[in-house]
C-alpha cells in the first residue's frame, strides 16, 4: 500500500534489469539469534534456485563474506543494540539499493527490546550475568532497524516464514513492490478451519491483534497465539485486553501478553503500559 518512492523504484528497476540478470544480494546480521537467516539456509532446493538467480555476495552464516559490498538487495536480521551496530546499519543502508528488515528483532527490536523498559537499560542485567561486564558495550535500548535508517520492506515474525520471504524476493525479482498481508491471524486461522482456542477453550489468544504470516501455527496445535509476528494493521488491543480480563487474567497477566517478543512495537507497548499501571 505504500507509495513507491524514487529510491525504491530505482531498486526495483535494477532488480528487473534484463541486462543485469543477476542482482547482488546480501544478508546481514545484527543482534539476533540467527533464526531468521535459517529461512534461507533451511530452504533446500529453493536456496539452490536462488543461487541461480542472484549473486549472494555477503551471507556470513552461509559462507560468503563481503560486508561492505554494494548490493541491490540487503536483508537485515537483528536489532540495533550496540554502538557498533548503530554505525554499521548506516553503512549497510548506504551500500544497498533496497533494504528488507527480516524478523521480529529487525522490525520491532525483538525480545531484547525488553531492556528498553528498564531505567538503566541493560546495565543491571549485564552486571548480573557477565563475569566481566566492562567488556560489554551495549546501548541502553534494542531498537528496530527502521528507527535508524529507511527500510523499504518489513517482514515480521519470530522467526520469519520462509514462504513469505521467498514470495517477497520473487516479487522483487519481477520488479514489483511486494505485497505483505497485514491482516489479523484469525483470518488465516479460520481459512485453515482451526477451532478458535479463545472461544472454545478460553485461552488468551493474541490472534485477533496479531499480524498474519506464520500460517496459524500455534492454533493448529490447540494453543494460543503469542503474537510473535507483531501487531496487525488496525489492532484493537484495548478491546482484546478487556476480553482477557473477562477470561480471568489478572491485570499483570494481561500486561504480559503484550510484553514479550514485540514489546517495543507501539501498539503493544501502549497496551502493556495501560495494564502495567493498573496492576
Amino acid at each position: 500500500m505504500a507509495v513507491q518512492n524514487r529510491n525504491q523504484t530505482d531498486a526495483l528497476d535494477r532488480l528487473n534489469d534484463r541486462s543485469n540478470p543477476r542482482p547482488r544480494i546480501a544478508v546481514h546480521k545484527f543482534s539476533s539469534c540467527d533464526g531468521c537467516q535459517l529461512a534461507f539456509i533451511n530452504a533446500g532446493e529453493a536456496l539452490l534456485e536462488l543461487a541461480q538467480l542472484v549473486d549472494i555476495v555477503h551471507f556470513a552464516e552461509a559462507g560468503p563474506m563481503d560486508p561492505d559490498a554494494a548490493v541491490d538487495l540487503a536483508f537485515v536480521e537483528g536489532s540495533i543494540s550496540t554502538p557498533d551496530e548503530a554505525e554499521r546499519i548506516r553503512k549497510v543502508r548506504a551500500s544497498s539499493r533496497y533494504l528488507v528488515s527480516l524478523g521480529a528483532c529487525a522490525t520491532s527490536g525483538g525480545l531484547q527490546a525488553l531492556r528498553n523498559f528498564n531505567a538503566d537499560g541493560a546495565k543491571g542485567w549485564t552486571e548480573a550475568i557477565y563475569a566481566q561486564p566492562a567488556f560489554i558495550d551495549s546501548l541502553d535500548t534494542a531498537t528496530p532497524v527502521a528507527e535508524h535508517v529507511k527500510v523499504d520492506l518489513e517482514l515480521w515474525g519470530c522467526p520469519v516464514n520462509a514462504r513469505q520471504v521467498f514470495q517477497a524476493l520473487r516479487q522483487l525479482l519481477f520488479g514489483v513492490a511486494p505485497v505483505v498481508d497485514k491482516d489479523k491471524l484469525c483470518v488465516e486461522c479460520k481459512r485453515q478451519q482451526h477451532v478458535c482456542v479463545l472461544v472454545a477453550k478460553g485461552e488468551p489468544c493474541m490472534g485477533p491483534v496479531t499480524h498474519t504470516g506464520c500460517g496459524a501455527l500455534c492454533p493448529a496445535f490447540g494453543r494460543d497465539c503469542y503474537a510473535c509476528f507483531g501487531p496487525a494493521e488496525n489492532p484493537n488491543t484495548a478491546a482484546l485486553a478487556r476480553r482477557f480480563e473477562g477470561l480471568g487474567l489478572m491485570p499483570e497477566a494481561v500486561a504480559r501478553r503484550f510484553h514479550f517478543i514485540n514489546s517495543h512495537a507501539p501498539a503493544f507497548r501502549s497496551e502493556w503500559l495501560a495494564w502495567k499501571q493498573g496492576s
Partner: protein, 383 residues
C-alpha cells in the same frame, strides 16, 4: 399459508420412514454404495462440532450438547444416546463449496518466452454430508444465488456443489445464540436436502427430498414412521423454534439501517470490535474473497489463488492508493448493512440465516441481534 404448510406436512408424514438408531450404519453404507465414497459428519473435535470424515455412526457425537454464548462455545455432556443433541459448530457446508483457499488457474512460461494458461482439474470426490442444519441449507441456497448466478456460474463452486449428497437433521436442540426462527430459515430443514431426518430417542424419522435420496432409502427397506413418531418429530422442531430467545426484529431491515448510517452506535461497536474477521469467516453466507498470484521462485510458473477475505480487513476496501474503510466502525457498518440491508437488493432477501455463529465465535462476543436492537431502539436515528 398455514393450509399449504399443513398439506406439505401431511405429504412428508405419509412418505416418512423410520430408521432404528442401531441401523444408522446401514444408511451410511447405502449412501456409500450410491457412489459417495467420502462421508463427512459432525465429530466432536478440539472442543467443537466439526465436519470430518466418518467411518461409522460411532464417530458421531454421543451424549454431547453445545453451550453457546456471545464469545463462548463449550461442549458439555448430555443425558441420553442422541447424536444430534446440539445446534451447530463453527463451520458446516461453506468450506465444502466455497473453498477457503484454492487455485483457480496456473500459468507457465516456456523456454521461448510464451505464456500458457492452464485450468485446474475440477473433480471433487463425491461427498455425503451427514447432519446438515436448516440454517446451513438456507445459507447454501443464498451462496448458490451468488456463485451460480447466470451468465457467469463459478465452475469451481458448481463442481463442488454437485458433488454433495446432503443429509439434513432438523434441529431439536437450539443454542442460546440461535435465531433461525426469526429469520425464517429453521429449525426445520425445508428444502435443498437429499434426505432429512428427525432424531428421536430410539431412532430417526427420515424423508427424502430428491430422487437420489429416495433411491438411497429404497435400498434400506424401512418401515413407515408411525403417526406418533411423526408427531413427536414435529413437536420437537416446534419446541426448538419456541425455545429460541434471540431474534431479529424484521426480515427486512434495509430501510431501518439505511436511515441510521450516521448513528452514534457505530462508534460504540467500533470500540469493541477487533476487526478480526471471525464473524465473516464463520458466517455461512459471507462470500468475499481475494485473488492473488503465487509465482514459483524460478519465475517460470505461477498459481492464481482465491482465498477467503473479509470486509473487516484493510485491503478489502483498498482502492488505488487509499483505504475506503480505515476505521473499524466503518468496517462493522459495511458488514452489517450489507448482510441485512443491501443484500436485499442483490439477492432478494437478507443475508442472515440466524445460525448465531457470528455471536458465539466473535472473540469479544459482539451480538448481531443486540447491535441491531441498539441501533433501532434509539429514538433519534441521525443524532
Amino acid at each position: 399459508m398455514d393450509f399449504l404448510r399443513g398439506l406439505l406436512s401431511v405429504t412428508m408424514e405419509t412418505s416418512a420412514s423410520f430408521l432404528p438408531r442401531e441401523s444408522l450404519d446401514t444408511l451410511l453404507e447405502a449412501i456409500r454404495r450410491g457412489g459417495f465414497t467420502r462421508v463427512l459428519g459432525p465429530v466432536a473435535r478440539h472442543g467443537a462440532i466439526t465436519y470430518t470424515s466418518i467411518a461409522s455412526a460411532d464417530d458421531l457425537p454421543k451424549g454431547l450438547r453445545d453451550r453457546q454464548a456471545p464469545g463462548q462455545y463449550r461442549l458439555e455432556p448430555e443425558e441420553g444416546e442422541r447424536r444430534f443433541a446440539w445446534a451447530n459448530g463453527p463451520q458446516a457446508l461453506k468450506p465444502l463449496t466455497f473453498a477457503p483457499r484454492e487455485t483457480l488457474w496456473r500459468c507457465e512460461l516456456d523456454d521461448n518466452g510464451q505464456l500458457s494458461f492452464l485450468d485446474v482439474d475440477l473433480a471433487p470426490t463425491p461427498t455425503a454430508v451427514f447432519g446438515v442444519r436448516a440454517c446451513d441449507l438456507a445459507a447454501l441456497r443464498i451462496q448458490e444465488r451468488h456463485f451460480l448466478k447466470l451468465p457467469y456460474p463459478d465452475p469451481h463452486y458448481a463442481a463442488r456443489r454437485e458433488s454433495l449428497f446432503l443429509v439434513a437433521v432438523h434441529c431439536s436442540h437450539p443454542a442460546d445464540t440461535c435465531f433461525c426462527a426469526s429469520t425464517g430459515d429453521g429449525p426445520r430443514a425445508e428444502a435443498g436436502y437429499d434426505l432429512a431426518m428427525s432424531e428421536l430417542d430410539h431412532g430417526f424419522v427420515v424423508t427424502a427430498g430428491t430422487e437420489r435420496g429416495r433411491g438411497v432409502l429404497s435400498l434400506l427397506n424401512l418401515s413407515p414412521a408411525s403417526p406418533d413418531e411423526c408427531a413427536q418429530a414435529d413437536g420437537e422442531i416446534e419446541a426448538a423454534a419456541a425455545a429460541q430467545t434471540r431474534s431479529l426484529p424484521s426480515r427486512n431491515l434495509k430501510d431501518a439501517l439505511y436511515a441510521r448510517l450516521e448513528h452514534p452506535h457505530w462508534d460504540q461497536v467500533g470500540r469493541r470490535c477487533l476487526s478480526c474477521g471471525n464473524c465473516t469467516a464463520v458466517c455461512p453466507t459471507c462470500f468475499c474473497h481475494a485473488e492473488q498470484d503465487e509465482p514459483a521462485l524460478t519465475g517460470s510458473s505461477s498459481e492464481h489463488l482465491r482465498q477467503w477475505d473479509s470486509c473487516f480487513t484493510a485491503v478489502h476496501s483498498y482502492m488505488g492508493h487509499f483505504l475506503v474503510r480505515e476505521e473499524t466502525r466503518l468496517r462493522y457498518r459495511q458488514w452489517l448493512t450489507h448482510k441485512l440491508a443491501s443484500w436485499h437488493e442483490q439477492y432478494g432477501r437478507s443475508g442472515c440465516v440466524g445460525c448465531g455463529r457470528c455471536i458465539a465465535w466473535c472473540p469479544v462476543g459482539i451480538d448481531i441481534t443486540a447491535e441491531v436492537s441498539a441501533l433501532l431502539e434509539s429514538g433519534d436515528a441521525q443524532s
